[in-house]
């Protein structure tokens, strides 16, 4: 088994007197989809924001590719190669797919310093093709004309462009229909197959079982268990989410608050 790209050890985070993360261990491996599950308030969002640099961590170790790093802001995280695809996709409706994928990182012609539209369109097309995206007719479509699934596709494909190492997807299928959910899950799988460490936040157990290699279950600010998806079933995951333990897995009853 390879070393994890991202490893967190004993991460703590408090907001005033409220301790949201109580020493969380978490790891994400390259080429794998790690599902991050947990009930509302378990600390999923906080953990993700700590990884992405939106929040600074109070204590614990943040290791990236085996080396301890300090992430002070979102820019530090993207410099490392960590991308977060938020639920509200952060796309501009009035711009087309290419323009959105390169937003803030536009390619310029070396001589004239003008936008290199041809190069950007070419790269955007390649990124979509590498993910076997067939649902998009033209990369020059305005985002306003895209369906929810297509928008999600664009947001995810953006991470391929930037050679991200860790991609965090926050509830990518929450607002989608059945067919589009399947498409997006395919996409998630392909991201991992390209060698990225994908972290998938989801409430949908079917999605989790279908696409993930590992499941990390948060329970009341602690990591209940991080296990291979193939070794658990849906009932066990649900128990981990709701009770923090399931049979031999999970937190000890007396150590639940540790």
């Amino acid at each position: 088994m390879s070393d994890p790209v991202l490893r967190l050890r004993g991460i703590t985070k408090s907001f005033g007197p409220v301790e949201v993360l109580k020493g969380v261990d978490f790891e994400a491996h390259a080429g794998e989809v790690t599902a991050l599950v947990g009930d509302n308030g378990a600390g999923k969002s906080t953990l993700v924001k700590c990884i992405g640099g939106t929040y600074s961590i109070d204590g614990g170790e943040y290791l990236f590719e085996g080396k301890p790093v300090t992430v002070r802001g979102p820019r530090d995280a993207s410099a490392l190669g960590i991308e977060i695809v938020y639920q509200d996709l952060a796309l501009c409706d009035n711009l087309d797919i290419v323009q959105n994928m390169f937003l803030g990182r536009e390619k310029l012609n070396s001589r004239s310093r003008t936008l290199d539209e041809a190069e950007m369109e070419h790269q955007a097309g390649s990124a979509l093709a590498s993910l076997s995206v067939r649902t998009v007719k033209s990369v020059r479509q305005k985002v306003s004309s895209l369906s929810g699934g297509q928008r999600q596709t664009v947001a995810i494909a953006k991470t391929v462009l930037w050679n991200s190492k860790v991609v965090i997807l926050d509830e990518p299928t929450a607002a989608l229909g059945v067919a589009q959910t399947a498409q997006v899950l395919d996409l998630v799988r392909r991201l991992a197959d390209q060698g990225m460490a994908v972290i998938l936040i989801s409430h949908n157990m079917l999605d989790v079982l279908k696409v993930s290699d590992r499941v990390a279950a948060l329970y009341l600010g602690g990591m209940a268990a991080q296990v291979k998806t193939s070794e658990v079933n849906q009932t066990q995951i649900v128990e981990l989410i709701t009770a923090g333990r399931s049979g031999s897995l999970g937190l000890n009853p007396e150590g639940a608050a540790a």
Binding site: L89, C92, D93, L95, A118, A124, G125, L209
Partner: protein, 434 residues
């Protein structure tokens, strides 16, 4: 069971991929003339109305006024319309930037004329040459815009309030700048007059048209070549050729009309000609190229669209929203200053109260009639020109058509109704757009 599900999905994906490797997605560009036309019609019907309302409006108005008054379509009246459209058009060009962010600058008219008064004072009272007057005026506008933009972007005061305050306050500043009992400052510098009245020689008009056409073709050819190198879909040559032809025909017609000699009998005896493309049109063409380039070909322009489309997305993409927001007010006020100077050229100086009234709202109307959205995120520089021409046609035609005591009352009512109509078209097209 779960392992099975997993394996099945992966196998299915692999199989699917092997069966049909995805082609590189590129832009969907229709490759025939018919296809280009159909996709354009489809775009218009789905709310991408673009220039259609403005062009249709201009044609309808020209037919109505042309039928109603014999001399409306005379060459001298057309030149007058072109000249009259200039101040509104240039102010509207600046407003396009502000409107793209979904903001409004209600002060542009007054600030523009105040800046022009500042330039006029430099020229008349301090004897500065014309270029110092223009530069001083533009800097005055830019500084005011910087202040307004800072109030909006940094202090987060709604632009409506910031610029309405400036609209009132700068009417006072204007009086102070003019500082005269005669309620105005007269411009004597010939160049400043020529900003409005000046004409270039007929030959220069043709050369300029040829240069513009050559530039257009060159840019398109280079763009197509770059796309072909990358294996991307290109615009077919026939479509490009037709577009160039349209520009040539329209531009040629324009230059021809402008070049008709309007000199009267005594001028002809003296060898004086009244002909040529107006300076103001040359200035507008220059601004169209420079500002259009800025908006569509530079990183800055792209970021203006992004902030107007989704501010949060722009911020997350690392765009400095604050500076973008401030900059559009600087641009708008600086262009308003230029607009004010051209207006001063027309009126022979700046009087207190110039630029107040409906100057600003007409410029907003021009941008919106041309197709720029009031809600942000959509707009082009050429919109300002189209809308400016439509309004100039309307004003020119109406003022001759309506006679009697209440003529100016009806004129105001009609102008207001047109602005409302343009905003309605914007709202409706926004709703139908998917």
């Amino acid at each position: 069971m779960s392992a099975d599900t997993n394996a099945v999905t992966r196998d299915a994906v692999a199989e699917h991929e092997a069966a049909n490797p995805a082609a590189n997605v590129t832009a969907l560009i229709p490759q025939t003339l018919g296809g280009t036309f159909r996709s354009y019609v489809r775009g218009v019907r789905s709310g991408e109305t673009g220039s259609v309302p403005a062009v249709v409006g201009a044609l309808v108005l020209m037919v109505i006024f042309g039928v109603a008054q014999g001399n409306f379509l005379s060459s001298s009246n057309i030149v007058a319309i072109v000249q009259q459209s200039a101040p509104t058009t240039i102010m509207a060009m600046g407003l396009v930037f502000v409107l793209l962010l979904g903001e409004i600058d209600l002060s542009a008219g007054v600030v523009g004329s105040t800046a022009a008064a500042f330039g006029a004072v430099l020229s008349v009272k301090h004897g500065m040459p014309w270029y110092v007057a223009i530069l001083g005026s533009a800097v005055f506008g830019g500084v005011v815009g910087l202040f307004l933009g800072w109030l909006r972007a940094k202090l987060n005061i709604p632009s409506f309030v910031v610029t309405l305050s400036a609209f009132i306050a700068f009417q006072g500043v204007q009086i102070l700048v003019i500082n005269s009992k005669s309620n105005g400052v007269q411009v004597s510098d010939q160049t400043l007059h020529d900003l409005y009245f000046g004409r270039i020689s007929p030959a220069a008009g043709w050369i300029l048209l040829f240069a513009a056409l050559a530039l257009y073709v060159l840019v398109k050819v280079v763009q197509n070549a770059a796309r072909r190198r990358k294996g991307l879909a290109v615009v077919p040559v026939t479509v490009l050729g037709l577009r160039a032809l349209a520009i040539a025909v329209f531009g040629g017609g324009f230059v021809y009309l402008m070049n008709i000699d309007q000199s009267v009998a005594w001028q002809q005896r003296e060898g004086i000609h009244q002909w040529g493309v107006p300076w103001s049109s040359v200035i507008i063409l220059g601004l169209l190229v420079v500002l259009g380039f800025t908006l569509t070909k530079t990183r800055y322009g792209r970021h203006v669209f992004a902030v107007g489309g989704n501010e949060e997305a722009a911020r997350r993409a690392g765009i400095r929203v604050l500076s973008i927001r401030t900059s559009v007010f600087v641009l708008c006020s600086a262009l308003a200053a230029l607009s004010g100077l051209i207006l001063a050229g027309q009126l022979g100086g700046v009087s207190t109260g110039d630029g107040a009234g409906n100057t600003l709202l007409l410029a907003v109307a021009a941008a919106v009639i041309g197709g720029t959205s009031l809600m942000g995120g959509r707009g082009r520089i050429v919109d300002a020109i189209l809308g400016g021409v439509v309004l100039a046609i309307l004003q020119n035609g109406i003022s001759d058509l309506l006679q009697g005591n209440n003529a100016s009352a009806y004129e105001l009512i009609i102008e207001g109704a047109v602005l409302l109509l343009a905003a309605a078209v914007d709202s409706v097209s926004r709703r139908t757009r998917r």
